[in-house]
Structure formats: structure tokens, C-alpha cells
């Protein structure tokens, strides 16, 4: 569990702080780093994400899009062990909200075991763009810009 906490370069904004000291994971606080890289917000999810935390993240990302006027969002889930229907719904809603604010979302780095499980669960996240890693996700978003928007 290594999350940057307030030591990012200036202008990247503070990471979202999770509730710490609550429940069996007490004292084990966590953060969701949200970095702005040019016109793209890079959100890195790691480890255990509580339900309340996921909803907070949704609000925060949507507000950040509106304030920073970014045109793309990359959500890196390579550090996420499982995606259940709750987190899946939150991810889909983040993408839908971003779309209404004229930003495109790419989900990057899903683990193969998570993909297999999501299909069996019945949650295929249709309509959510994916990339194998963050680099390719950034390429997808910047390539779209040069074309003057999505095809």
C-alpha cells in the first residue's frame, strides 16, 4: 500500500483521503491519487476500496473534470484485486458523468482474473472504453484529440 500523499508536484491537487481509523482496517488509511497530466486526469485505484470511498471518488472526479476542464479521464485499476457489481456500477457512472461533461474515460489495466470474473458475474461494462495499460489509455485519448474528437 504505497500511495502518494501530498508529495506530488504542485498543481496536481491533493489526493482524496479515505476514512482512517474506522473498522477492522483501523489506522490503515488509504488514498486515491488523482493527477492532472495536461488535459487528462489520471486516477489510480489501489487495494481495498470501501463503498463509501468509491462514491466519494465519483463526486470528486466529476467535480475535478468540471473545474479543470480536462477532456479525458484514465482510471488505472491494475492495482485492484476485485471489481464487484457495486464498484463496476460506480466506474460506469463515473464514465457516464464524464461524458456529460465532455470528457472521455478509459479504464486501464484490468487484471485478467477480474475480467473473467466480471463476465461470469454478468457485468461486461459495455460502453466503457478499456486499455491494457495507462500508456495505451493515454494514447487513445490524445489520438482522439488530434482527430478532433471521437470517431
Amino acid at each position: 500500500m504505497t500511495g502518494p500523499s501530498g508529495n506530488g508536484p504542485a498543481g496536481f491537487g491533493p489526493p482524496i483521503a479515505g476514512p482512517s481509523g474506522a473498522g477492522p482496517m483501523g489506522g490503515h488509511g488509504f488514498t486515491v491519487p488523482v493527477l492532472r497530466l495536461g488535459d487528462i486526469l489520471l486516477v489510480t485505484l489501489q487495494g481495498e476500496l470501501h463503498d463509501g470511498m468509491a462514491e466519494q471518488l465519483q463526486q470528486d472526479i466529476t467535480e475535478r473534470i468540471a473545474h479543470t476542464r480536462v477532456t479525458g479521464v484514465v482510471i488505472d485499476i491494475s492495482g485492484v484485486d476485485i471489481v464487484d457489481s457495486f464498484l463496476g456500477r460506480v466506474l460506469a457512472e463515473i464514465a457516464a458523468g464524464a461524458g456529460l461533461l465532455a470528457a472521455r474515460t478509459v479504464l486501464a489495466g484490468m487484471r485478467p482474473a477480474v475480467a473473467i470474473t466480471l463476465v461470469e458475474l454478468g457485468l461486461t461494462l459495455a460502453g466503457l472504453r478499456t486499455a491494457l495499460d495507462v500508456e495505451r489509455a493515454m494514447e487513445m485519448l490524445t489520438a482522439g484529440e488530434q482527430d478532433g474528437g471521437s470517431p
Binding site: 476485485i82 470474473t117 458475474l121
Partner: protein, 147 residues
């Protein structure tokens, strides 16, 4: 016989979303210790997350009993999610993809059934619900007829 601190059933409370995270971690650890592969672990932990959330949201909280099964040809893990909530009025409906009474996607029950090998629901209106699921580390193929 392997000595393991998970040899006995463990009971964990389900009363908050922090508890859900704890249940996921403990199920993951128990499955890994029993030799479940990564995909099997991921499926079982995902099913546990769905069912524990049902216990929390629909059952008003409860607990889960985690029981390692070491006696069969393949190690397995049994999870029993117990609540004393209102019960499920229409079980067939609850087991249908897309049906929801709680604002979710309606995949919790039907989806988690597909992620485990055995799935059993015992629900009494007004008394509560127990959902018991079992997953095996490796599935032994059925014997061929005549062999």
C-alpha cells in the same frame, strides 16, 4: 494434515462497508491458504463481496461464517451469510438477472451463483436469510460411465 489457523470456522460481523472490505480480505486469505488459484480466488471473493453487501443492505447487517473444507478430494471453502432481516419474499424474482430491490444492478444473487459451485438460499419472511455458497479449489470431473 496441514496445520492452519483457518482450520476452524471463523465468524465475521457484517455491519459496515469497512466490514465488507475485511470479509473480502479474509475470504481471499482463506482461499489462498487452501490452494485456490488466482481466478478461483477472485471469483469467490467477488461472490462474497456481493453476498456480504446483500446481508448489509437488505438484511440490515449480520455475519458470515467461513468454513474450510479439507475432507473431500479437493479443498473447498464454505461461506454462510446470515442475517435476521425481512427475508426474501420472492426467491425466483431475487435470483433473476437485473431484478433489484435496492437500487443496485440486480446482479448480486444471480451473478454470485454463477461464481461458485454450490449455492443455497434459506429465507423466511420476517425471520431472515441465510445464503450458503461453496467453492472448490479444483473441480474433479465426474467419473466416466463404465470406468
Amino acid at each position: 494434515m496441514r496445520a492452519s489457523r483457518h482450520a476452524a470456522p471463523a465468524s465475521l460481523p457484517i455491519g459496515s462497508d469497512a466490514d465488507l472490505a475485511w470479509v473480502r480480505q479474509q475470504v481471499r486469505q482463506a482461499a489462498a491458504e487452501l490452494g485456490f488459484g488466482l481466478v478461483q480466488q477472485t471469483k469467490l471473493v467477488t461472490a462474497a463481496s456481493e453476498l456480504a453487501r446483500n446481508t448489509l443492505v437488505h438484511g440490515g447487517g449480520g455475519h458470515v461464517e467461513i468454513t474450510p473444507l479439507n475432507t473431500g478430494p479437493s479443498p473447498g471453502l464454505r461461506l454462510a451469510f446470515v442475517d435476521a432481516g425481512p427475508g426474501i419474499r420472492d426467491l425466483d424474482q431475487a435470483m433473476t438477472d437485473g431484478y433489484t430491490s435496492g437500487g443496485g444492478l440486480g446482479l448480486g444473487m444471480s451473478g454470485s451463483k454463477r461464481l461458485v459451485h454450490e449455492f443455497e438460499v434459506d429465507s423466511r419472511p420476517g425471520e431472515g436469510t441465510t445464503v450458503t455458497v461453496t467453492a472448490w479449489a479444483t473441480v474433479v470431473p465426474p467419473a466416466r460411465p463404465g470406468s
